[in-house]
Amino acid sequence: MEKQTPSTMDIVNRGLARRYRKEKQFKLLGLSAIIASLMFLVFLFGSIVANGWTAFRQGAIYLDITFDEQALQVENLRNANYGKLIKTSMAELFPDVSGRSQTRRLNKLVSSGAAFELQDMVLSDPGLIGTTKLVRLPVDDEVDMLLKGHISRDVPESERRISDEQIAWVDQLVEAGRLQLEFNTTFFTAGDSREPELSGIKGAIMGSMFTLLVTLALSFPIGVAAAVYLEEFAPSNKWTDFIEVNINNLAAVPSIVFGLLGLAVFLNFFGLPRSAPLVGGLVLTLMTLPTIIIASRASLKSVPPSIREAALGVGASKMQAITHHVLPLAMPGMMTGTIIGMAQALGETAPLLMIGMVAFIVDVPGSFTDPSTVLPVQIYLWADSPERAFVERTSAAIMVLLTFLICMNGVAVFLRKKFERRW
C-alpha cells in the first residue's frame, strides 16, 4: 500500500519545460511588439520621405529677358509691367503660338511669381535696364509636378490640369535645356504663399524660433527657480504637497486648454497682438513649465545629500551649498528636461491655433510681435491646401520639423551621457 512520493527534484524537473516555454513565449511577445513598433516607424518615416523628398527640388526655366526701357517705363519702376518681359521672351521661343488663349496657356507655364523676381532684380540693380540677360525663373507648380512625374501623361487630358499642348511645350523647353529640376532654395528662403512654387518654410521656422526663444527665456529660469525652491527651501507641509500635486496635474492638462487660457488672458485681457510669437511663447511657457519643474526636481533629488552636507559642513550657507554645488551637478538634468520641454513646444499646434497663429502669413516675421505661424501649424495649413504641389511640401516641412526635433533630442541625450556622474 506504500505510495512512492516523488522527490522534489522530480517535481521541479517536470515543471521546468513549461517554465522555459513560458519564458520563451514572453520573450517572443516582447520582440514582436518591438518589431511592430519599428515597422510603424519605418512606414511613417518612409512614407513621409517618399512623399516629401521631391519638394527639395524645383523646376526652373531659363529665359533670355530683354529689360526693355520702353516696357519698363523707367520713371516708375515699381508699377512697370514685368510680366510683359516674360511674355515677350516666351513668344520669341515659341513663334508659332498665336491667338489670345493659346498665348495665355503658354505663359501659364511660368510662375506668376516670376514677374516679381524680375522686379526685385531691376529694383536692386537698375543698370540692367536696356540689357538682355539669361534669367532663371520659377515655373508653375503644374509644370513642376509634371517634371517630377506626379502628373501622369497617361491620364486623359480632361482629367489633368495641364494640357497636351502644354506638355509638348514643356518637352521642347526641356530638350532645349531651358527647363530643368534644381535645388529648391525658395523652400528655405520664402514665407508662405498661395502659389506652391513660391512658398517656403522660412516664415514658419522664424516664427517657431521666436516663439521658442520666448518660451525658453521664460520657462527655464522660472522652472528652475520653482524646482529649487520646492526641493531645497520649501518646508514639507500640506501646502507644498498641494502645490506638487497641482504641478503634476498641470503636466497632464490638454494643451488646447492652455491655448484657451492664452486667448482669454493674454489677448482679451492684456490686449497683446494676435498671431504674435510673443503670445505663442507665453502660452507654450505655461505648457512646458510643469515638464521643466518636474525634470528639474528629479535632477535636484538625484544630487546626493552627502554633497550638501559636505558643503554645509565646511560652513557654506544654504544658498552657497546650492549655487556652488547642487545646481551645477543638477544642471545637465535640468537642461535635458528643458530641451525635451522645448521639443514638445516646437511640435505643439493646438494651443497656437487658439491665439491666431494659424493665419495665412506671407511675410517672414522679423520680431516677437510680427504676425507669424510656426512649423507644425504651417504643416497643418499646407496639408489643408488642395494643390498637388502642397502635398510634397507638407511632407518636406514634416521632415524639417522632425530634423529639428531629432537634433534637439540628440543634444539632450548627449548632455545626459556627457555629464552622467556616478557617486
Binding site: 518646508p235 514639507s236 546626493p304 552627502s306 554633497i307 550638501r308 552636507e309 559636505a310 558643503a311 554645509l312 559642513g313 565646511v314 560652513g315 557654506a316 550657507s317 552657497q320 556652488h324 554645488h325 551637478l329 556622474r421 557617486w423
Partner: protein, 296 residues
C-alpha cells in the same frame, strides 16, 4: 534586539560572574543595567565644549535623553555604542548639522568656549567654520583636489591672495598626510582618489578652514585596514592642534586613538571616562556588556 534579550543574557552573565572571581576583583559592583544616569568623569576642568541636559527629538521620537558631557581641549573623545543609539545624532548637535533635518529638535545647552551655540543670535555659518566635520562616507566635491581644499577658505574669505590660498591648500594637505601623494596632480578630480585618500582629502578640507573642533562620524567605516591605520595616525597627530570628537563602532580604534571614551546606549549617555579605564574596568554593567561583545 529588545531589552528582554539583553536582560536574559545579563542573568547568565551574573551567575557566571559569581563563579569567576577574577572579574570581581577589578571592581566591586557594576551599576545596574536599569540605571541610566551617566557614571564616570563626564566633566573636565579645561572644557572646550560643554553640553548640559541635551535632548534630541526626531518628531515625537526621542533620540537623545538628557546627555551632559564636556569635551576637553585638545583631546580625542571617542563615542561608542551599539548602532542606532544616537551617537551620530549627538555628534551632529555639536555643529548644528541637525538643523538641516526638518523634524529634528534639540533641547538643552551646548556651549563652545562658553557661548551657547543654539542661541538665537548664533549664525551657523561661522559656527561650522569653528566646528568642522568629517562624514562617514568620504564625500569630496566632484571638483579638483585643489578646489576641494580651497573651497572653505574661499567662501569664508580667509585668504586675500592666490599664493596665500596655495599655502593653505598645501598646509592642509600636509596635515592630512596627503600632500606627498597628490602634490603633482592637484587639478585632478578629488573623486578619482582611493577611498582612504578621499577621506583624508575630506579631513584636509575640514582642516583648511582652521576649525577649533573637528567632529568625525565613523570616518574609517568605509575604509580598508591600511587606510584606516593611516587615518588613525593622522587623528593622533591632529590632536596636537585640534579638539576631536570621533564616533566609532570599532572599539579597538577608540582604544588606540582616544583619551576619553563615552558610551551611549539607546539614547542615554551611560558612561564616560578615560579610555584605558573604560576598556579595562567599566563602571556600568551595560558598558561591560558592550565591550565584552555581548551586543553591538
Amino acid at each position: 534586539m529588545g531589552m528582554d534579550t539583553v536582560l536574559d543574557m545579563g542573568d547568565t552573565f551574573l551567575t557566571g560572574k559569581n563563579t569567576l572571581g577574577a572579574i570581581d576583583s577589578v571592581v566591586e559592583e557594576k551599576v545596574d543595567r536599569e540605571d541610566r544616569t551617566t557614571v564616570g568623569t563626564q566633566f573636565v576642568d579645561d572644557a572646550r565644549m560643554t553640553c548640559r541636559d541635551v535632548n534630541v527629538f526626531y518628531g515625537d521620537k526621542q533620540a537623545i535623553r538628557s546627555v551632559s558631557i564636556d569635551v576637553a581641549n585638545n583631546e580625542v573623545l571617542a563615542m561608542i555604542g551599539p548602532s542606532g543609539c544616537g551617537k551620530s545624532t549627538f555628534l551632529r548637535c555639536l555643529n548644528r548639522m541637525n538643523d538641516t533635518v526638518d523634524i529634528c529638535r534639540v533641547k538643552g545647552e551646548i556651549l563652545l568656549d562658553g557661548h551657547d551655540i543654539y542661541d538665537k543670535s548664533v549664525d551657523v555659518v561661522p559656527l561650522r567654520a569653528q566646528v568642522g566635520m568629517v562624514f562617514q562616507k568620504p564625500n569630496p566635491f566632484p571638483k579638483s583636489i585643489y578646489d576641494n581644499v580651497a573651497y572653505g577658505p574661499k567662501i569664508h574669505g580667509i585668504v586675500n591672495s592666490k599664493t596665500e590660498l596655495d599655502g593653505i591648500v598645501e598646509d592642509s594637505l600636509k596635515k592630512a598626510g596627503l600632500w606627498n601623494e597628490v602634490s603633482d596632480r592637484l587639478d585632478e578630480p578629488g573623486t578619482g582618489l582611493s577611498g582612504g585618500q578621499q577621506q583624508r582629502l575630506c579631513i584636509a578640507r575640514a582642516v583648511a578652514v582652521r576649525p577649533e573642533v573637528i567632529l568625525m562620524d565613523e570616518p574609517c567605516s568605509a575604509l580598508d585596514p591600511i587606510a584606516t591605520a593611516t587615518v588613525e595616525d593622522l587623528i593622533t597627530e591632529l590632536k596636537e592642534q585640534y579638539t576631536i570628537v570621533i564616533v566609532t563602532h570599532n572599539m579597538q580604534q577608540a582604544a588606540r586613538i582616544s583619551q576619553r571614551t563615552a558610551y551611549f546606549h539607546l539614547g542615554d549617555l551611560v558612561e564616560v571616562g578615560a579610555t584605558d579605564r573604560i576598556f579595562t574596568n567599566p563602571l556600568h554593567q551595560l558598558t561591560e556588556d558592550y565591550i565584552t561583545g555581548r551586543f553591538g
